[in-house]
């Protein structure tokens, strides 16, 4: 056994001379960590799988992981460190646009491609520059899909909107949802709009006000981050409100059913992928993630982190070198890269992928595929 280990170590050492350095910037500690940690796990898993299969261009991928600590200064320093000390060829990570905007310009200035794993602000790459790429669709796409699904498929005529004021994600999602809903059903059919702030765990005052509405809205649209959704459904259903709830990809987390239990029934959300999809790619991801980390992917960000690494490796292969500028050009030319979260293509100058939106329904405690929407 020992001998095998020594041999393995030697192989590892010899491969260490031919490595491609890929930066992994995530907020592994602090307030964002429940969202970023699964993303980092997904990226690490993909890197390990790629290396086990022989690496990229015959070289091993060395993931240089750095913690942004949910702090703007630490994010900027981490980005500079990846550029100047670790000298990475390309960087992936980050699920929140305010942190992407703190680190992105540093990568842009250094000419290092930055693949943003989970931040869904549609104009994020334009704000940073031509070296920034997004793995997920923009919030506009999924909010439009959510509005259309609620109106066309659930047959809702009136809606209640609740959103978290603490994240640009939820603020943007609510704005795009309202825009499309007003086109479909008229602005008057938004019966009430209310807010809370991430960190408030008590929504009883808002829910009592919703409950006092007469007539009741047909559907509730709630723009929230994963940490709050289980709590939200439990308090809403606990107050006896049973309407269908529609949300964005923040709802794509097992916390919804673990914490929500029965309260999560009759809930729909728009997201990147259905993990119950029987396709090989998805099943392979779910089973190896579960095997490696001892639990199923915590939320959609795990799959996005996985695809971030896959997309980077794919671009390096197509570029035929680990040169940053060549990787950028290869990324920009991505057509039909098939990942866990769907097919990624960057059309024209756009660096936000053109992806379809999956709608999931919670049924008997399971996430069931409901519909695929291309708004």
């Amino acid at each position: 056994m020992k001998k095998i280990l020594v041999v393995l170590a030697l192989i590892g050492l010899s491969m260490a001379f031919a490595q491609i350095k890929v930066g992994a910037l995530w907020n592994i500690t602090g307030g964002m960590s429940s969202i970023d940690e699964p993303g980092y796990n997904g990226m690490q898993l993909a890197a390990d799988q790629i290396n086990a299969a022989g690496g990229v261009l015959g070289q091993e991928i060395q993931l240089v992981v750095i913690d942004g600590k949910t702090d703007q200064t630490a994010n900027a320093n981490a980005a500079s460190r990846l550029v100047d000390v670790d000298k990475v060829a390309v960087v992936g990570g980050i699920n929140d646009s305010t942190f992407a905007l703190a680190s992105g310009p540093i990568f842009q200035d250094a000419g290092i491609p930055f693949v943003i794993a989970g931040a869904t602000l549609p104009d994020l790459p334009d704000q940073i520059g031509d070296y920034a790429f997004m793995v997920p669709f923009g919030d506009n796409i999924q909010a439009y899909a959510g509005a259309e699904f609620a109106y066309n498929d659930l047959g809702a005529k009136t809606v209640y909107v609740l959103y978290d004021t603490a994240f640009d994600y939820s603020v943007a999602l609510r704005a795009f949802f309202k825009e499309r809903w007003a086109d479909l059903a008229g602005a008057d059919s938004i019966l009430l709009e209310d807010t809370y702030k991430n960190g408030d765990k008590d929504f009883s005052a808002q829910i009592a006000r919703l409950k006092a509405l007469d007539p009741q809205p047909d559907v509730l649209y709630i723009a929230a981050v994963p940490d709050d959704v289980g709590n939200l459904v439990q308090q809403i259903r606990g107050a006896g409100l049973m309407q269908p709830i529609v949300g964005g990809d923040g709802w794509d987390t097992p916390i919804l059913t673990e914490v929500g239990g029965e309260a999560a029934e009759n809930t729909y959300f728009t997201t990147h992928v259905s993990l119950s999809n029987t396709g090989d790619m998805v099943q392979n991801f779910v089973s190896s993630y579960t095997e490696t980390y001892g639990n199923a992917p915590e939320n959609a960000f795990a799959a996005l982190g996985y695809d971030t690494m896959g997309l980077i490796a794919d671009a390096i292969t197509r570029a035929g070198s680990a040169d940053s500028a060549a990787i950028r050009d290869a990324l920009a030319a991505t057509q039909g890269y098939s990942g866990v979260t769907g097919t990624i293509s960057y059309e024209g100058d756009s660096r936000v992928p053109n992806k379809s939106v999956t709608v999931i329904k919670v049924e008997n405690g399971d996430f069931v595929f409901a519909k695929e929407v291309t708004p």
Binding site: D194, T195, K201, Q206, N231
Partner: protein
Amino acid sequence: MSASYFIQQLINGLAIGSLYALVAVGLSMVYGILRLINFAHGDLMMIAGMLGATLFLWLSKSPLFLFVALALVAGLLGLALERIAYRPLRGAPEVNLLITSFAVSSILQVGMQMIFSSSPRRFETVAALSKLYSFGSVQIRGADMATFFITILSALLLTWFTRRTRTGIAMRAVSENLDTSMLMGINPSRPIALAFFIGSLLAGVAGVLWGWKYGQVDPLFGFLPGLKAFVAAVIGGIGSIPGAFVGGYVLGLAEVFFVGFLPPSFSGYRDVFVFSLLFIVLLVKPQGILGQSKGRRA
């Protein structure tokens, strides 16, 4: 606005106010003696909640045992923290205690993140607690009723303890005036340790009640309620045990009423309102609703 809407919001305010009150008591007692704003206090509530969802999961079928076990764990942890981190600082500048409490808070939060990951976890509850009970047009959840009654019971027990038992009276004496009480032959170490133990115990109680009420805990959930509970303690009159309970309910009701009775566009400004309220109390009646003026010692 109908009467039942008002009553519903009143109940909501009392439920959240109970949790603030339980956390505020410990903050107030410790401040009364050591002048320490203990920023790590809310994290003890978090520890109880997190342990209830992880290591003590096997007890979740018997709520009473879980309740007692977690309260004791939190109380003992509070005692240990006092011994390790705060007692060596006795006689040092007050600000050192403050810094230590930041540091302890950071260790507890990051430590729990490293051990159990940062993802929120389900806190198991029992059917009786998650059930919705109807009283006419008003509905109350079992967990909210339990929270309210346990808080009132704690308040009564604590008042009895501090007024009728020797140890409790010694504790109040130390809080009133440390030097004089030492002249009276009270060794302050015991009352101080006891204040930490009881305060942390109640924070642990709040942690379990929190878990039952919201069904979800995570390593960072304690900080903000801890801060708000301090606000409650100041509003009620810091150092005063009945004041902490009153302050908790005033804050809980004020928060809920602010969101519930103003247009929804104001909901986001809740914290501005809460902390402005604090500001006004500080300026108009710095000793709080039930606090006694201590003149220059403030």
